[in-house]
Symmetry: none
């Protein structure tokens, strides 16, 4: 049976990818997934057309409710959850600053992907605070080519 699900979600980068990833990982048969603005620019409405029986639909709705971007954030506030974001970026370095920058990255337990003469490519993963702290520690050296995934979250009962 075909169902249409409407969900209100925060209008944040990565929402669409997270939704799509969630559905494809579960093997749900999605006919279409659309995200559109609402009268409030901070909120988007998702329309999901999905095939399946009532049990499948219950699963879909449960999964939607688990995502951090859904407006039912109140459900999440009560539960314990973890959130993570992945980020790639370059930090400018020269002979004088290279060791200092490497030190900051190693201390925060993030990953150095490549070191070249002029820059270091960093792979950083963490929650909002972790990412913020790392960026503010490296800001003064010059950060470029920032590429972020947006956050994903998981409830931890």
């Amino acid at each position: 049976m075909k169902h249409i699900i409407l969900a209100l979600v925060e209008n944040r980068p990565g929402v669409l990818a997270r939704m799509a990833g969630l559905f494809s990982a579960r093997g749900f048969n999605i006919d279409s997934l659309t995200v559109g603005e609402t009268e409030d620019p901070t909120i988007s409405r998702m329309t999901i057309v999905v095939r399946g029986d009532d049990r499948t639909l219950e699963q879909v709705k449960k999964q939607l409710n688990k995502l951090i971007d859904t407006i039912s954030v109140k459900d999440f506030v009560k539960k314990e959850f973890i959130d993570r974001e992945l980020m790639l970026f370059k930090v400018n370095v020269d002979d004088k600053t290279k060791d200092k920058v490497k030190n900051i990255i190693e201390k925060s337990k993030d990953k150095i992907v490549k070191i070249s003469k002029d820059y270091i490519i960093v792979e950083a993963v963490g929650d909002e605070n972790h990412i913020k702290t790392l960026l503010s520690n490296l800001e003064k050296y010059g950060i470029t080519h920032v590429t972020r995934t947006g956050r994903i979250a998981m409830a931890v009962e």
Copy 2:
């Protein structure tokens, strides 16, 4: 063939919806689409992983370039680039399997976020092969709650 397209776009309301609409209307086979902030808050970086022949890809790039929000489009199939994806998931465990599962995660240098009686929460980061290998090694124990960000990429000259 699989391509990674990086596009810089204006961070305006509705950009994602327009992009998503463009791809779904043309029936392009999108593996993942991720939008994230850059160091400039007015600009977002989109990473699109798409399958198709060269003609299809040319169409995608033309369509992207036509959009008013698009600043630049780069195709990374031939160039050197690094790509990464972040994933959270649970693996089912019991007293018999717990050590085996921990071993697999440690060997692949991914992160254990939480260990409970029945499951382990894993934070995995890597390129396509890394993620695939890890998942296939853990599959038989039972994987649930998969949440992926979609891939991001960066050119490495």
